[in-house]
Symmetry: C2
Subunit: 321 residues, 2 copies
């Protein structure tokens, strides 16, 4: 067993390959060919902290993954990052622990953004041109960058609560993506008027997007609501949507945007389309006027896919003479 | 974060200190002052393997523990041990992963045996002299050794299905414990005639001890039944017992020896005494004629206690000039 640090891990990430691996993970999960254990949660109230453990194994994979992620929200005041943790890669053939990927959260950030890419490709109408990003953090940055790089979008508009941070992100993306037009939206409503795909990436606990702001033809990818109590979009939007994709039906019904809509009777569990099922069989046809939603809460098959990809690359390279 | 291997770990184990730590862990658990997450289980049928993940944090401890344990039962044919895994020690103050204790199962063996010591001290009658061990594996060896070393017993009798292995264990223990009389019992029934405390340490799936073999005054410590389907003692023994101690009421009711007895209507859940409660308040008085049972299924507070003890020792020693 070895510990592999963040810098070394990043050398072994091939985002295009991981994109395919995560798609396959979602397909296996929807087809009942992946084991995804219930998420383990520990709370540390005195330190304003928590720990989640997620485990998955995709059938026939030679390794499985256990991810430990901590969030201690008073850390920044101590000069430490809020997030920490690792992914352990273990042989599914003989149970031997192979590696600790001490990724400092970067693999989770990447696999989350790549699910956004997958959900965008799956659900956006073919004439979609402009990506709208709600949020000015790491996830907003990554989603914008990877969606443009991997899917060829040429126009991005960003809104976040902190206008200064949004301006900085617009500048960064402008230099990272010289062929893409990147702009700041003055309000979330203004963003909705311009965006064909809206990706929400905040930890908000109240809707940032009202249903009547969203134009026909828009595809919403909701990424932020990964635990109970979080909400980024008006639940009424579900009543307007022709199709709702969910990365995990059980998680999305329990928390996520879908949970709010189900509670309000605006969508039924039977109407949800598992993301992996749509990836395997193709999404139902959509018109250019349809509003569609993808609710992403994060599934351990994504961790398993990215950790396996990194580990396979480490092994290939160490085997070279 | 660092990986600490088995040899180094063993230098940092002080069994007397860990015994107290595990007792405190049981007390905290019974008092609702420990977080113990539900056990996560993954199965790998094609490889005849499985993985369990156990997590615990005892209130006010500065670290918490996540234990990953694999069992791949075709490994010995490939020249590999069946069991593998590690304990991760993580800061409960800021979420930083501190160490991976790659113990190869030795800490689990030890914490299991130390719970046997605790249950023996708690439940055995004061006039008890002879320890009977059922099973000739690592756990049988450790229980005999630690019960004698830590509690001062001077007489051990052992029975197991493999008479040759029992004979070898008798020889080993004889040289390890020169002041103790160690003997081999020809049958389990003969063992019951001699032993005042019986510790069962096998992975049996059918009773090895019949209720009518057990003499009045005997204290039974059942260690082997750590998952559904396992059973070492006749469920009828519960009907004869004046007191039943359980390390975890929820686990013992779900699997363990107690589960079989509850299913058969021989004991009620309300009659079980949590081990930690009895440790905190003292066990109810017992006569020299009473039969008592301690059902131990293994609780993550034991892992947390031993991992914390090792980590504290590592830190103390690395801090020395």
């Amino acid at each position: 067993m070895q510990i592999i640090g963040k810098a070394e891990i990043l050398k072994h990430v091939d985002v295009r390959a991981v994109l395919g691996d995560i798609e396959n993970g979602f397909k296996a999960f929807a087809a009942g060919k992946a084991q995804v254990a219930p998420v383990t949660h520990l709370g540390f109230d005195a330190a304003n902290g928590e720990c989640h453990i997620k485990c998955a194994h995709v059938a026939d994979d030679s390794v499985f993954t256990v991810k430990l992620a901590t969030g201690f929200y008073d850390n920044p005041a101590k000069g430490l990052p809020s997030s920490n943790g690792f992914m352990a890669v273990i042989s599914a053939v003989n149970g031997t622990p192979l590696a600790i990927l001490q990724d400092e959260g970067v693999l989770t950030d990447l696999r989350t953004a790549l699910a956004g890419v997958i959900a965008t490709r799956l659900g956006a109408r073919s004439s979609a041109k402009t990506i709208g990003i709600i949020g000015n953090g790491i996830q907003g940055h990554l989603q914008a960058k990877l969606i443009c790089e991997l899917l060829g979008y040429k126009s991005v508009v960003i809104w976040g609560r902190n206008a200064e941070k949004v301006a900085a992100l617009v500048k960064t993306l402008g230099s990272e993506l010289p062929a893409v037009e990147v702009a700041q939206a003055p309000t979330a409503e203004a963003l909705c008027e311009q965006a064909d795909v809206i990706v929400t990436t905040t930890p908000s606990r109240e809707p940032l997007i009202q249903a009547d702001w969203v134009r026909p033809g828009t595809h919403i990818v909701a990424v932020g609501a990964d635990s109970p109590g979080k909400q980024e979009i008006d639940a009424q939007l579900f009543a307007k949507a022709s199709q709702v994709f969910v990365d995990s039906p059980s998680q999305c019904v329990e928390h996520g945007e879908t949970a709010n809509a189900i509670k309000a009777g605006l969508v039924a569990e039977a109407d949800l389309t598992p993301l992996g099922e749509a990836l395997a069989n193709g999404a139902a046809p959509r018109s250019d006027e349809d509003i569609t939603i993808a609710d992403l809460t994060g599934v351990a098959v994504q961790d398993a896919a990215i950790a396996k990809s990194v580990w396979n690359s480490v092994e290939r390279n160490s085997a070279r003479p």
